[in-house]
Assembly symmetry: C2
Homo-oligomer: 280 residues x 2
């Protein structure tokens, strides 16, 4: 394998696993420590990433930059990289609408670089077969062959930018959309005093459903702050396709009401979560 120099923005929980997978695939992976937290520094160090210190230096050193950040930050990260005159391959692996991906493609092309649209499905990629990075764009096949080989499954799904983001949006629309819907349902059931009866009825269909649902809602509070933007992106994705976007506006509002609950040492109780979801 020929080694590429890849910059990762930024090595958060997901990003560092992706970076480690690129290293396993035979590449050198760098990050930029300037302004990042101590937790991020520790993660980057543990994964053996090289520190370019600044994003500017990262852009000057690397032929490929991969952006892994919350959706609401995706455009700012891309702008910063464009601002440094980066003209290599820019991979946006974030949960953004295909419309934003297409607009980034235009911007990177006019700067003389290439844009690769990406979407990650699954949790942090520490074991094979659980996490996928889908890529689309004019150079997606070439980039996929460089990034593939580690625990992260990498697949090119076409030459059209936006496809990888659309796939990510459609997948998350169900997984994260239904978690928000179930939280809203349990909040309403609590309000009307029928939560126990509802859980009994669900048990008629599937004995494990209630317990799994309760655990799912408690777990999601840790990531709710990041899902607000993702739900808004899904809503925009649906609306641009001529499909009703309100499902995920409601989901965004549910995650907004959960925001802040992640600041605990333990997961909050279901009762505390449901109480927050009811806002007359």
């Amino acid at each position: 394998m020929s080694q590429s120099r890849i910059g990762i923005l930024h090595p958060g929980n997901m990003g560092v696993s992706v970076a480690a997978s690129f290293k396993t695939a035979g590449n050198e992976v760098l990050w930029a420590s300037d302004g990042r937290s101590e937790a991020t520094r520790q993660r980057a160090q543990d994964a053996g990433l090289n520190d370019a210190v600044t994003v500017r230096a990262l852009c000057e050193t690397c032929s490929i930059i991969v952006s892994v950040c919350p959706p609401h930050a995706a455009r700012d990260v891309a702008s910063e990289v464009l601002g440094y005159g980066f003209n290599g391959h820019y991979v946006d692996a974030n949960a953004i609408s295909p419309q934003i991906a297409v607009s980034l493609d235009v911007l990177f092309a006019s700067a003389g670089g290439s844009f690769v649209d990406g979407g990650i499905i699954g949790g942090p990629a520490w074991t094979s077969g659980n996490t996928w990075l889908y890529l689309s764009g004019s150079t997606a096949a070439e980039i996929a062959s460089i990034l593939a080989g580690g625990a992260l499954g990498v697949a090119c799904i076409g030459e059209v930018p936006g496809k990888a983001s659309a796939l990510k949006m459609c997948y998350a629309a169900y997984s994260k959309g239904t978690t928000a819907l179930l939280a809203a349902i349990l909040a309403a059931a609590t309000h009307y005093g029928v939560r126990e009866e509802l859980e009994d009825q669900w048990a008629q269909d599937d004995p494990d459903f209630s317990e799994q649902t309760l655990a799912r809602i408690r777990r999601v509070t840790a990531k709710a702050w990041r899902y607000i933007g993702e739900m808004q992106e899904i809503s925009a994705t649906f609306q641009a396709a001529g499909v009703p976007g309100e499902f995920h506006l409601a989901a965004a509002e549910i995650y907004r009401r959960m925001d802040g609950l992640e600041q605990r040492s333990e997961l909050p109780s279901l009762e505390e979560i449901l109480l927050r979801l009811i806002q007359p």
Copy 2:
């Protein structure tokens, strides 16, 4: 068992199964043929229901009236019965919001009768253990003991009107809400050219998910016209509880776009359905 005289409005596919169950429980069940279709007449006859001909005569003859109709017609059916001075037990078994149930409770009480809030969960009640009628209200326990005994499971869940409707709303919010959501997702995936990739990704989580989803969306077209109102009721139910109601406004719109597809001899193809869901 002591026999009660029960009027059913109306013996549609669900209503006739409910009526048959009340008969099995030892009651006499009547219907009103005036203005109803030949299909309804045939169903009522096959189930051995007695014909009171008019709704007025039904109200004069029966001590219990049970309303089983599409949600958008529930208030009209109740108004008609109130208009005939009915002062027995009126059971609304429809998919209406608890707020409407409470308002009907007030109206029947001022007319000197009693209102029992009801909600049916499951399909037509031809076999035991698959369909439940939940009841709540001041006389719900008494009425439950009269109606129970056939294939339809009947349970009183309290004395407060609105609880049975709330339970029905919360249950349908997931079952019918997710069917609409999945239809919207597949429509968006089709628009962006990633339907095959999405189905492959779903298969990673559950090999049967795509096939079941496709069958579920095709099947629901037969009932979509009736689900429009039900989704609007759920949205109102959520909003009155201080929970975001937009999930089911979107679901109502999805079912509205499916409306009309039931007029076929065969279920429409998925492609035809998805094409209808995309309306730029």
